[in-house]
Every structure is written in C-alpha cells, then in structure tokens.
C-alpha cells in the first residue's frame, strides 16, 4: 500500500508518446519531481511525495521509457530536449505555471535546460546527485564501452547495449548495488531492481543513446549562473557520479552545496528525512 495516493493522475501525449503523471497536494509553491534515467520511474520519489504533498503541490511523472509512460524505440526520442518538453507538458496538464524543480542524477540535464530556456516556469532548482557531464566519469567506470561487444563483461563493463539485450536483469542488479554504497540498503536495492525490471534492456539502451544528443560544452553553457536559487546535494560515497560533479554544478550555477557525508547516489531513497527537510527548507521561500 502506498503512504499516499495521488489526488489526480493523467496522461499527456507529445508526438504520439504518452507520459503518465501524478499530482498530490495543493500548497504553494508547486514542486516538480523530475524523472531520472529510465531505469526507474516516478515511484523513486515515494519517500518524498507524502511529506512534501502536505505542504506543497507535488507533481511527478514517469520518464519516457519507464513506468506507465510509453517506451519509444528510437534514441532520438530520449534527448534532453524531449524530456524538458515532457516536463513542460506535464506542468501544463497539471495546471502548474511555475515550480521548484527537483532532479536526481541525469534529470539534472533536463532541469538545467528548463532553468535556462524557460526561466519563467522555474522558481528554483534542487539537484540531487547530479549527473550533468561536468566532470569525467569515476575511475572505475573508464572500462565502460557502451557500443562494443565485450566477452564476459564484469563490473562497469556490463554497462553495455549488447549485454543489456541478453542479461538485462544482471545489469540492473549490478547497477542498483552501485547506487547504494551505504550499508544495510537491501530494501532500497530491491526497490530499484524491481522498478528497473519494469522496463527492458532495449528501451534502456535507447534511452542511454539519447545522451548522444547532449554534450558537456552545451551543459556548461546551460549551467552558467542561473537566475533562480539553486541547491545541490551530493553524497561523498556516490559510486555512480562523483561528488566532484555536485561541487562543480554548485560552483558554475552559483548554487548552495550540501555535502551528504557517507551518502551514495540515491540519498532521497536512503536518507529521505534529511533530503525531505532540505527540499522543504528550500521551497519554503517561495510560499508567497
């Protein structure tokens, strides 16, 4: 059973792709919880929604390729521009003029684009464990060769389009383990694994291919000092995207940085209380 069910659910359709969203609560301001990578869907915010919805209007949606949204097969459907337009369409459908954006991991790309290109729709932006191409990958990820055929890949080598077609569940298990470096994270790992298995390797590969449409230079340009308040939080034990990425994003956006000492890549799942309080504290300034 969920702790809180949405007040309303809906579908928006863009270029034939259906995007499922939920809305909860009615306080001001609105908070838009953005999707991460298509490995997980909007249930990743389950520890945030019931609390935030008591104070704010909370909207979240399943990113294309995940949950109740469609799973287009073509990588071009997963560009960050498409995700940003999905977010705007969801805001329109949910009746939200402007919102505080909360993103995690790769959602940072979409949030940055919204901040830079649609500033009047954005009150402020919270970035959790951002993955925004500002820093080189972690050392242990340099073995990744996404498009190459690798015999008997291990570790980060399993981050591989060919492997996913045949061994997708093994990859999901591996990746979920890397997301939670904190001891005693079995439930969080099971959750992420379950959500990941709701989509499939081909879809995830297509979604990953969408990244080809992003580049570091463009991201840096988007992340130039933003007009809105920015809060970045990043775990020091993040084994998916380095803590330095959070530092860099806070630095180039002019945002505040909260260091989560000991946290991994999904602190909103593993340390929901602190993350909830930080989001609330950040959003409280937009009450009027």
């Amino acid at each position: 059973m969920r702790a809180r069910y949405p007040d309303c659910e809906g579908i928006v359709v863009r270029d034939g792709v259906r995007i499922r969203y939920e809305r909860c609560g009615q306080g001001r301001p609105a908070i838009l919880l953005l999707p991460a990578w298509s490995l997980v869907h909007s249930r990743q915010w389950k520890m945030q929604v019931p609390y935030l919805a008591r104070h704010f209007t909370v909207v979240c949606f399943d990113g294309r390729g995940s949950g109740g949204s469609d799973r287009p097969a073509d990588a071009s459907a997963y560009s960050d521009a498409e995700f940003a337009l999905d977010a705007l369409a969801v805001m329109d459908a949910a009746g939200i003029g402007s919102a505080v954006l909360v993103s995690v991991s790769r959602g940072a790309l979409w949030a940055l684009r919204l901040c830079a290109e649609h500033p009047h729709r954005v009150l402020g932006a919270v970035f959790i464990a951002p993955s925004a191409l500002l820093m080189p990958p972690l050392a242990e990820r340099r073995v990744q060769r996404f498009d190459e055929v690798i015999d008997d890949p291990v570790g980060w080598q399993t981050y591989n389009a060919h492997y996913w077609k045949t061994h997708y569940p093994e990859f999901v298990t591996f990746f979920a383990g890397r997301m939670f470096t904190e001891p005693h994270s079995t439930k969080q790992i099971e959750d992420v694994t379950g959500w990941g298995l709701e989509t499939d390797g081909e879809t995830l590969a297509a979604a990953d291919g969408g990244l080809e449409f992003s580049n570091a230079t463009a991201t840096r340009r988007l992340a130039a000092p933003l007009a809105c308040p920015v809060l970045v939080m990043h775990g020091t034990q993040d084994a998916v995207r380095s803590y330095a990425e959070g530092e860099a994003l806070a630095d180039c956006t002019g945002g505040a940085l909260v260091t989560l000492a000991g946290s991994g890549h999904f602190p909103h799942a593993r340390d929901p209380v602190r993350v909830n309080m930080l989001i609330k504290q950040f959003a409280d300034r937009f009450r009027r």
């Binding site: 809060l231 940085l257 909260v258 000492a261 000991g262």
Partner: protein
Amino acid sequence: MRARLPDREGVITRGGVRVAFEVFGQGEPGLLLVPASPITHARSWKGIVPALARRFAVVTTDGRGTGRSDRPHQPECYAPGEVTADLLAVLDAAGVDQAVLVAHCHAVPWALRLAADHPERAAGVVAIAPGIGVAPPHSYAVEAERRWADPVDAPADWNMRNRHFWRQDGGYREWIEFFFGQQLPEPHSTKQYEDTVGWALDTEPEAMIAEREGRAAPTGSEAEALCGRVRCPVRVLHGSDDRCQPVARGRRMAGLTGGHLVVLDGAGHLPQSRDPVKVTRLITTFADTITGASMHATTWTRGPCRPRRALYLSSPIGLGHARRDVALAGELKRLRPELEIDWLAQHPVSAVLDAEGEHIHPASQWLASESAHVASEASGHDLHCFQALRRMDEILVANFMVFQEVIEEGGYDLVIGDEAWDVDYYWHENPELKRGQNVWLTDFVGYLPMPDGGEREAFLTADYNAEMIEHIDRYPWIRDRAIFVGNDDDIVPDTFGGNLPAIRDWTTRHFSYSGYITGFTPPEPGQVAALRAELGYRDDELVCVVAVGGSGVGQALIDKVVTAYPLAKKTAPELRMIVVTGPRIDPAAFPPRAGLEMHGYVHRLYQHLCVCDLAIVQGGLTTAMELTAAKRPFLYFPLGHHFEQNFHVRHRLDRYGAGQCMNYATTDPDLIAAKITELAGKPVSYRDVETDGAARAARLIAELI
C-alpha cells in the same frame, strides 16, 4: 555588562528632534527592531540582539521620547508620519536598503505604514503582540481609555492610565509598576519586570502623555486598510495571555496581511524578554525564508557514519572548573577512547585548555564574556554574585544561542555542562531544543540570600530556586545525569527558602555524588621537597602564595596583602611572597615592591599551592580545595555578598576542618602579617580529600554513551 556592544551608534535629527540608533553585525537582510517607544526603548531587545547580529545587520532605535533620543512634549511630534519618517531616516543613516521590520505593540502600525508606503524598504514584517485596532481592545482597558483626559481621584489598576494621574507625584511610576506587573504573567519573571519598569522610567510623564495624545493610531476600517496595503511577508507572534493586546488582534492582523500567526501559548505581552530563545528563532527562520540565506554550503553526515562526539562546557567565570574538567575529560577518554571532545569555552578557561592541547570549537569566538561581566559587577572585595548572575541574563541567552547552533550543526552525542547555566536554564525553558545526552555538573545547589538583602532577596533567591525545582520536576529528561561534585555532607543544611524542600534532601534525590574532583593527585609528603626544588623554592624559605583565582576580581585583596608583606617580612625574614594575579588582572598594574614576586596566569598553579608554606586566597571553592587536598595552611577571604563563597564553600571547608576564614572588611594589614607569621609552615590536620572524583564522575558519564 552588555552581551554585545553596537558596532556603530548614531543619531538622526528630524525637525529638531534627535532620534538615536545603534547598528550591530552585518548580513542580509537587515533587521530594524522598532520598540514601543517611549514606554520602552532599544534595550528591550537585549535578549535577542546578540544572536541576530551574528547573522544579520541589526539596527535598533530608541524612538522619540526615550533612551538616548529627545523627549519632545508636543503631541504632534509623535504623529505616525513623524515616527515612520524617523525609521526611514534611521535605515538611511545605518546604510540599510531593505530590512525585515520587527515591531512590538503600538510600534506595529508604524512598521506596517513603512512597509505599505515604502515597499522597497521592507523585506518583511515581524509583529510581536501587535497593538493594532483590527479587533477590540481588552474590555477592562476601554473605560480607562475613555477617561484618559478626565481628572480622576485616587485611580486604581487600569484607571491609572490617566494623564492627570501621571502628572501627580509618583503617579506615573505607580502606573508603570502596575502595568508591567500585568504584562509578565509568566511565573519567575522578576528580572524582566525590573528591566521593563526601569526602561519605562527612563522617559518622563510629559513625553509619555504627548506620545499618547499624538499617536493617532488607526482603528477599525482604517487599520484593516493599512494591513491590506502591506505586500511583504508577515509573521505575527502573540502571547495567549497578553493583557495589553488581545490575541484576537494578532490573529486578525495575520488574516488581513496574509501573514503567518504564531501563538505563544502561556506567554504574556513581552515574549522578546521572557522567551528570547523562541523569539530569536522565529525571527531568524522568518528572515531565512525570505532570503533563503540559510542554504549555505554545509555538510550533513549520515547518522551511522558519525564519530562519537561530546561538547564540553566549563563554566567560564574564573578558573574554578577548568582543571577538574580537564581531568574529567581525560578519564572519560580513557573509558571511551573513540570519543571526540570539543570545548565551547572562553577566556580564562580557554587559557587552560590551550595549554593542555584540548580542541576548542571555533564558535567559541562568539561567546560573550562572563568573566568580564563578573569583574564589572565587583566593587573592591565585594561581589553580589546572585544579582550579578541575574544581570548576566542577556549574556547567558546570547551564549546559549551560540551553543544551540553548535549543537544543531555538530552532531554531538553528549553535552557535558559544568555549571553551564545557560544550557541548563534555556533547555528547560525550550525543551524541544534539547539534543543528545546531557550531563549537568555543579558543586553547589541553591541560591541563598545574604542577610542584609532583607525580605526582597530572600524572596528572589527562593523564586529562582523554585523555578529550578519546577524545571527539574517538569522535564526530568533534560538532565540525563546530574552530578554533584562532592558528597552529601558538603551540602549546606539550609532549605531552598519559603516552603521549598531542604537542599540536601532534594539534591540527594536528583543528583549522583562523584566526590570532590581536584583534577590532580597531591604529592606525598616525601615528594614535596623534590617538587619544591623543581619549582625553584628553597627549603629554608617560607613560601607564601597569594592567589585570587581567574575571574578578574581580586585587586583589592592583593592590595591589602602586599601592604602586609613588609610587615610580615620584618618578623619572618625568610618569607618569600609570590602573588598570582590570574589571567585577567595585569600584574604590572601594581606598583613594584622590593622582594615581592608578581605573576599573571601561572599554568598548573596547583603545583605551587601543593608545596607552599601558606596561601592567602579568596573564598572560591577550587583554590581552597586544592589547598585542602594538599594539606597546606591557608587564609581565605570570601568576597562580600558572595553567597556561594560565604555559605556553600565555607560550609564545605568547615567540614574538612580546612583553612582560616577571614573577613576582608575587618582585617587590616597588621592582622594579615600576624597570621602569616603564626600559620606559615605549621602542620594542619584536615580531613582527606578523595583522589578518585574525576574517575567516578567519568564512569557516571560513560554509562550514557
């Protein structure tokens, strides 16, 4: 002594009327604190300014008619437009473009007018007990208000709010004493009452009358319209038991301004004085919400990843506690090697901690000096320490706010407060702020009145004791462990006063006894000679150490003793006198005398005391007990009007059969010289002082973590 002095003071002049202001600190947004002048002035914010000024640029003003401002007698000088213009001029002079306006009682309409007419200058409004006519006044005030200008004969209660009565001899004072008696319905508010009455008496009846007749406060639809014109965020604080402004006014004002109402349940009209911690936090969170300034770079460490940490507070009045606390911390680290200990400490305690290599928390720099306050309260060899503690109220709350910030950011498992009065008092007053396990240590329990204080002092000490007893009774979970540094016999046979219990019985029920903690092991008789040699004392000289502790009080005693030195030297030529002025008295301030040795801070002074032939000291517990433990003869001079030294310490020393108590006022240098010759080097027979006190106390604490 004030907890914080202004960084800048100034005066603006408008239409020939001078209005004083002060500026403290820096940071966005600015805060303009607007008192309900002229019945009170800027000092009414004393409990909240020091903490706010660490975050924001705080501007206070006395307002027309009181404090350091002029006191015009023409009602038109107090028109709302004039006061609002003063506030703008103060903001200009202080260099503050935009401020959160914090206003009290009838100052609230001034702040609202400023916010409505000059929205670019007001980032927000905090209205405390708003005196705005958007709801009816208390019924009992209506009749008096109607008869304000009528001649009245011997009015009582609210009817004393009358222009003719205020002009009568003593009439204004009588009104003020009645009025503030009503406005502090919270028990144990004697100090706040004395303060507010005193500030009200800083003005004069004619200025009060002129202000009242020129106030032209909006009422009814006019007041509602004023509220409706305010566009900035508003927070209203209102005591549920406010007998000046009904809480309905605060509620209605919040509704009309779209503001947020915080009802302070059980509070009266002056929460900024009576509940300064809560008011400070409400202002801070309000200002932070406007600017988001609290989202600065910070680290949050996951709970399971944190090292075990303790924050140790050692009472900073003098050096009495530093040595024993260092010893106790050492024993605790022996029992819990993984425990990290930070010290929130100020001079002179920090001098000991530095020398011992302890880690002092950097926020210690924000602490207001308790020792300087105590020194400022002393006069000659007299220190009324109970009243000095009462008058330390703004320093205690300022330092508590520093402590609370440290504890909220630091992830401490344990707080150890050796007579950390601020923590103990304000955690009981604001129990929701407690964090971690809390250990309270003290070496005396119970305020006792000095005989010449009469009934009033007996009442006040009993009232303070009653408040403490009620604190412990209501919130037994604030002190996780209370340790009395000593034994039950050390406790005076008195009661807490009034109908309150006997101190010893109550203490035994609520404390654990650790035995005394000297913080060192005295040398065996066979080791004394070697230690004397090491310290540079010869066997054939009579070493007399004169020490006055660390608080900065003691100049008068030193003056008297050094006058006795040549007299004593005549009869005892082998006399060698070493005067230790302590870390807060400059030894160079005394005229040099041939043969006399003067020192400031002496690290590990106890070693010298352990091998001296005689010591002459104040009545402070620590030094006297060091001499008792080392079995050295000594004279001690309790400070006049110092209840702890005159009663608690003396009782304990009598139990040990230690020392000779001297009366400073009736002792002349000849008598001191005679005592030196009589006692120096003579054997003593004191009761033994235990040497395991620190270890016992450490075990009691270690059980908590």
